[in-house]
Symmetry: C2
Subunit: 422 residues, 2 copies
């Protein structure tokens, strides 16, 4: 029997009614002939409440102690979900991350999974029991409770699916969340956006990085590395969501599968600086030490002078400006300017590797919509343009439309491919 | 340096303010030259809230899953208390019951401690760190999370003090609770009641059984078995509370150290039944299977007929009546009568072993106060009289007064001893 690993996020188990509903979905999957392993996040706002408590007893809570505290959130939800499953007549046993064999390094708050000792999971499955595993947590080799940081529960689910080799027997990982799946663009911004029935790991990864909050990049990377198909779907609806898997032949026909908009970006630009060896390292190490997430970095050169620009979220702009100013002062050269109110529109698709003209088509669409392009960055399967935030939605709609993304299902997408050859 | 094990109950850590206050008490003890190990219960009403959640997902929650759920309560409080200690500059590490080495049998919901593997606790102490241990929980040899049932956190504290042999170096166990200590009678009922600076394990055990909710009998038994002195004191006051320890010579001088009242009792009396072998076993096994806690059992005989009576709390009376009626029907003989509105007044003291006349003095005091005695039961260090609940407080005051319990501290108590020789 194939095994699916079903993961329920916090909103899917936020109260007893939803916990019982989640249990019913597990029971249904079992009834359809699957072995099931369940991974659960902490209920609703539990994690936030625990952090608030910690901040009331300590100005800077110790990371090890925070992990002890956080881990209680998932431990409570797995116990409750296992009870609800038993109530439905499904034998189920809850497991902490440690009990499920999830071993991590000792970096509290953002531990990395080192291995999964599957013995206990396999014994439960072979006895016909449903293991209900606490997501987001594990134990170090010293027996310390650790948490995996952002995207941790998704990563737990995909990692367990990988360790159990579920794909070999036709199994996969199923992520229940509060959205329907992955769309060609954010449906709140582009009304004609449609849900993608399938997408490749690489594309999903780019979209996740671009702010599509459906699934954390870390879980996607794990899925890609170990070849675990990931089905993202709505926890309260029966519909098929989006299946994330390796590139398939028909996928390759598509030049662009989706586009994304990230706004509230600011840009720091540095001019009049000699492009000496080590300059960039010095600049961006200082920013990294301050935990500033740099969005895109662009550099051009004019003679021996460099022109470096990078984008950051508005919230990080003031601190970025300070750090760059300090670094330039130490270097004794360079001029800095700062802009706010920028946005980034991007198109993503593995097909663009083999299709020419995607970039030019994107630029033309933006131009025809009257949108000025300030910067451009590209990867193998992504093209991003920095534009004014005021043009954000218009730009996204123009790009979405030019690649025919709103037309619907896969069948129509194959058709578009020809017209993207410019 | 002597080690004390400090235990904080749920009300002592019910919110961040109280958690910080508890941390300050730990820091103070450390500042006075003690090594400290801390044991903590779940915050305030957490356990009740978790049970309520469980009942919303399952009609009869699985015991193993309930333990997984419950254990999160103490795990959260130890993490928070450890953070609060670090905030005060005290190095501290929280530990789950399992991490602290507390091993139990596998009986979920009411596990028994089988041993404590002290290695980790000792390593932390020798490094100058304060271990903050989750009370009420442990792990079985299979790595399953178990809980100890009623009185579990007190028992954890005393058991750890025993395992660390703290008494050998002048250490002890300190139970912080929401009362000042053990009184000669319940101060809400007897205004002249005074706090006992010291009491023996046996006396505390009898008082605990008689409903003095200060400390659970199970923890007292553990203390007695391993010779751990237990200091019961108020968590929000600096005053000395009551030290529970082995009988000391001056303790033996006291005939009676305290008295207690338990009301809302009902009595089931059975007459006209042949006293055949196995009768009592059959009767009380049926009650035990229904989880009815029988208070006192009294039996007298007249020829071949037995007269058996027992008391139970009012809440259990209806079911007790049903069970006894069914048993008598099966036996085909016996008459049952049931009374409500009874109370039990008791005096306790190891001194009565060697002092005559305690009983007669108690009976006379009750008689002079106009209190009729319905039943009498005694143990080596306790005398109990069943009386009408309406006479409860009057009876308690009369007994408290006749043994001079309200006079005050130990010094005056030694003086009373002579007058109790009747």
């Amino acid at each position: 029997m194939p095994t699916i690993v079903q993961k329920f996020g916090g909103t899917s188990v936020s109260d007893p009614v939803r916990i019982r509903r989640a249990a019913q979905r597990v029971a249904d999957a079992r009834g359809s002939g699957f072995e099931v392993v369940v991974v659960v996040s902490a209920m609703g706002k539990t994690t936030d409440e625990l952090i608030a408590l910690a901040e009331q007893v300590s100005t800077s809570p110790d990371r090890r102690e925070l992990d002890m505290l956080m881990a209680t959130g998932e431990q409570a939800s797995v116990a409750l979900l296992a009870m609800a499953l038993r109530e439905l007549g499904c034998p189920a046993s809850s497991l902490t991350g440690g009990q499920a064999g999830l071993r991590t390094d000792g970096v509290h708050g953002r531990a990395r999974i080192t291995r999964i000792e599957c013995g206990r999971l396999e014994r439960l499955i072979s006895r016909g029991e449903i293991p209900v595993v606490a997501g987001f947590q594990g134990t170090s080799d010293e027996g310390e409770i650790t948490t995996l940081g952002r995207g941790g529960s998704d990563t737990t689910a995909v990692a367990i699916a990988a360790a159990l080799r579920v794909a070999e027997a036709g199994g996969y990982c199923e992520i229940f969340t509060d959205v329907d799946g992955v769309y060609t663009a954010d449906p709140r911004l582009v009304r004609s956006a449609v849900k993608l029935p399938r997408i490749s790991y690489e594309e999903m990864l780019e979209l996740a990085m671009l702010g599509a909050g459906v699934l954390h990049a870390r879980a996607v990377l794990f899925g890609e590395k170990y070849g675990v198909p990931i089905h993202v779907r709505h926890s309260q609806k029966p519909d098929h969501g989006t299946m994330i898997s390796r590139e398939s032949p028909n996928m390759e026909e598509l030049a662009v599968v989706g586009c994304a908009l990230k706004d509230e970006l600011g840009r720091v630009s540095i001019r009049q600086i000699r492009n000496v060896v080590g300059l960039q390292g010095r600049l961006f190490t200082a920013l990294a030490h301050a935990n500033i997430v740099v969005d895109d970095i662009m550099q051009t050169e004019q003679g021996s002078a460099a022109m470096i620009a990078f984008t950051v979220e508005h919230a990080d702009l003031a601190e970025s400006k300070q750090i760059v100013a300090k670094t330039l002062q130490e270097l004794g050269e360079g001029e800095m300017s700062v802009e706010v109110g920028l946005a980034k529109v991007s198109v993503v698709g593995v097909g663009m590797k083999s299709h020419a003209g995607v970039a030019s088509r994107m630029f033309r669409a933006l131009g025809e919509a009257g949108v000025a392009i300030h910067n451009i960055t590209t990867s193998e399967i992504k093209i991003s343009c920095i534009i004014d935030a005021a043009n954000g939605q218009r730009g996204l709609e123009a790009v979405h439309s030019t690649f025919g993304l709103g037309l619907g299902a896969n069948a129509t997408m194959a058709m578009q491919t020809d017209s993207t050859r410019l």
